[in-house]
Symmetry: C2
Subunit: 244 residues, 2 copies
DNA sequence: GTCGAGCAGATTGTCGACAATATTTTCACC
DNA sequence: GGTGAAAATATTGTCGACAATCTGCTCGAC
């Protein structure tokens, strides 16, 4: 009842290997998603055979997947003692936010000299959309627009290294993005800050763009810092969203 | 003569597993070193069986090692086509330097509030040592002191995330550190810049420390930019060193 | 002579089995 | 009844073997 029925081939996820995508890659994507989306709790043990069964691949594949995830910082692995989902403390979350901020400031600077008119136009549209959401009081939609905005700036920077590093940092934070603060009144200020950033990018002024982004992100970090100290007092307070 | 003699155990590198260090870890360290130290050329193919023989481990271990190195950005891996040492272009080197600069600026900021008196003292000593090297014209020794200084600042920041990211970026650059520029007169200015950074850290002034580091690193990036464009003209010019 | 089909050779992807290590349980002894 | 050794269990570390895939080459048709 609990043993894998037959050792007969492996039609589980495979069937047809989706063009160049190996089964291990598939497993990597799936497990990564499970961790990032929070379906696997922090500190939860990751037993190789269990994962192999779940993901429909051999233990070897699971092993390389775990190695990748460890290097990525999503998993910790002690020799002979197995792997666990990495626990990200609030202090670490602050660190990650700071590092991400430093890199996004660089991205903004680069975007100021490299963004195409189409990209700037997209930013303007997003800005308008965000403004509308703000007026309508739809903070969740505002947060989405916010994410799109930052993604566009990063894309416009054409800075492969910064993009890669930011993506990695973001993955470690997703758990926190689901329960981060929206301090009352923060949205309005956030919107103004974003407007300044786009202005600087459109004006092709790298220094101004970097400074504006830095200013914006320092506020985000401050907000996060306040949140964590508040969190220490009354646990599980209001449902929150940080506005980047 | 060329086949591994007997399937008898594996005393190759092992003998006694150096306390918690698995054979795969050993292999990882060794291969990483070989890439970083330049013993393996960029774009060189990394055939799994060959590496297995060289490193004295099985192919499975090699495979996880390659997965880690790929995630780390030292190796590229195409499905069914194997792995190669990643080729870092000069444009990418500039990117990496910029990203590293952004993170080191953050580290300097943190160091300003977290450095211990002992750490500041060490920086002062290093500064004095660098000054002496400069007077003696020993640029190689100066470069060493320079590296120690930056390492100390990063350590003093106690910023685990920034430290980790910087280490990763550094590894990708080592090949370039062996052939980067020392523009005439750069050392003297570099020394002044370092002094300002340490001053700010000692004064526990985060803004000043970050600004000083940013100023310093922008010069490094400029130098690197000039070098790469010059490199395009007359290849393999003077032996060079970049002063961070 | 050039082009494509088809056939080696080499290399990677995947798996199950065995050995080594850590963890838990059992049980004899004080 | 508590304590420690020693077996039993669970899990990871490692390997070789087989299948799938890619690469380069040969060879026949046009």
């Amino acid at each position: 009842m609990d043993a894998t029925p037959p050792p007969q081939s492996v039609p589980t996820t495979v069937g047809r290997n989706g063009r160049g995508r190996t089964a291990a890659d598939e497993a990597y994507t799936r497990l990564r998603e499970d961790i990032v989306r929070g379906r696997l709790m922090p500190n939860q043990r990751l037993v190789e055979v269990d994962l192999a069964v779940t993901l429909g691949v051999g233990r070897t594949a699971v092993r390389t997947v775990l190695a990748r995830l460890e290097q990525e910082g999503l998993v910790v692995h002690e020799p002979n003692r197995g792997a666990r989902v990495r626990m990200v403390t609030e202090a670490e979350a602050l660190e990650i936010t700071q590092a991400r901020g430093a890199l996004e400031a660089l991205a903004a600077r680069e975007a100021a000299t490299k963004a195409t008119p189409a990209e700037v136009a997209f930013m303007r549209e997003t800005l308008a959309h965000m403004s509308a959401c703000l007026k309508a009081g739809d903070l969740l939609a505002y947060s989405d627009g916010n994410a799109r905005m930052h993604a566009k700036i990063i894309e416009a920077s054409r800075h492969h290294t910064a993009t890669r590093l930011i993506a990695g940092l973001k993955a470690q934070m997703v758990r926190f993005q689901y329960r981060t603060v929206l301090v009352p009144g923060r949205s309005a200020r956030s919107f103004v800050e974003h407007t300044r950033i786009v202005d600087a990018i459109e004006a092709a002024d790298p220094d101004a763009a970097e400074a504006a982004m830095r200013y914006h992100l320092s506020h985000v970090a401050d907000t996060l810092r306040e949140m964590t100290s508040a969190h220490a007092q009354h646990h599980a307070s209001a449902p929150d969203l940080v506005h980047f």
